[in-house]
Symmetry: C2
Subunit: 166 residues, 2 copies
Amino acid sequence: MLSLNIRPLVRDEFVRFGEVIEINGAKSHSINEGTTERYHDLANVDVSDRKGKALINIFRGQPRPQPIEIRMMERHPIGSQAFYPLQLHDYLIVVADKVGFPNPSDLHAFRATGMQGVSYRKNIWHHPLLVIVPNHDFLVIDRGGPGENLEEHFFEETEGPAVLRV
Amino acid sequence: MLSLNIRPLVRDEFVRFGEVIEINGAKSHSINEGTTERYHDLANVDVSDRKGKALINIFRGQPRPQPIEIRMMERHPIGSQAFYPLQLHDYLIVVADKVGFPNPSDLHAFRATGMQGVSYRKNIWHHPLLVIVPNHDFLVIDRGGPGENLEEHFFEETEGPAVLRV
């Protein structure tokens, strides 16, 4: 079984997949009589195709058994999807930068801190939410509206799962 | 000077102004092989007028001197604006449900917990971000695009500020 190397999440390495949403390294300007810094437009909310609109949701995630077995990936063909953690815990991200169906050797794994969100671009293969601690909540901005926006791909038995050891 | 009564933020009382974004009292369904609860579509992201689109930003707020003096209100005529706190601290909300220009006697003040976000509907008068602790961060989902989306109203000197004592 392929064991994935987990790297720290860094903006420049993630640019192929979408945006890292974080204050660190972002530009800001002062508003509200100097009482607020606005870190402006940190991710591309790309949800308007086919009469879509942005939704605000909360996802509450639970950990999977260790080592985590990655057996499938998913993507959203007509909408970006952004996650921002609501408690200060690290979490995991698995993505693939493949146009066709990915297999375990196409995967990239990152460890995000509790002060980093991510936004997956349309059509970027990613694994569903992977948390490390119980009841880890995320604010999720994704797409609602007509049209099928979920595609799932399960690895072949012969490919086996990829595994993550945290 | 008018001293505002601060009430706990409750979904049913806020419905005139927009939505309270919270897990408490919201419906959810299970996704991701049972590892995630999705609390779906918790606020109306209403930003598409005049070719607008949703933005994801982070606001870092600093407290104002106590007692807090409310001397102005603002509203966004062509876009909703949602705030969700990223650290577990209470914060304050001041709104008015007046179509024309509000004065201090039109104001309503609420204390939100660190597990409650809010979304202001288009054209709802509200005060800019009011935090109680230093460096309180919020994920903010609002509107970008053409058109003027900010209107400010300053109270007359004779009306005086309204004050908040936390």
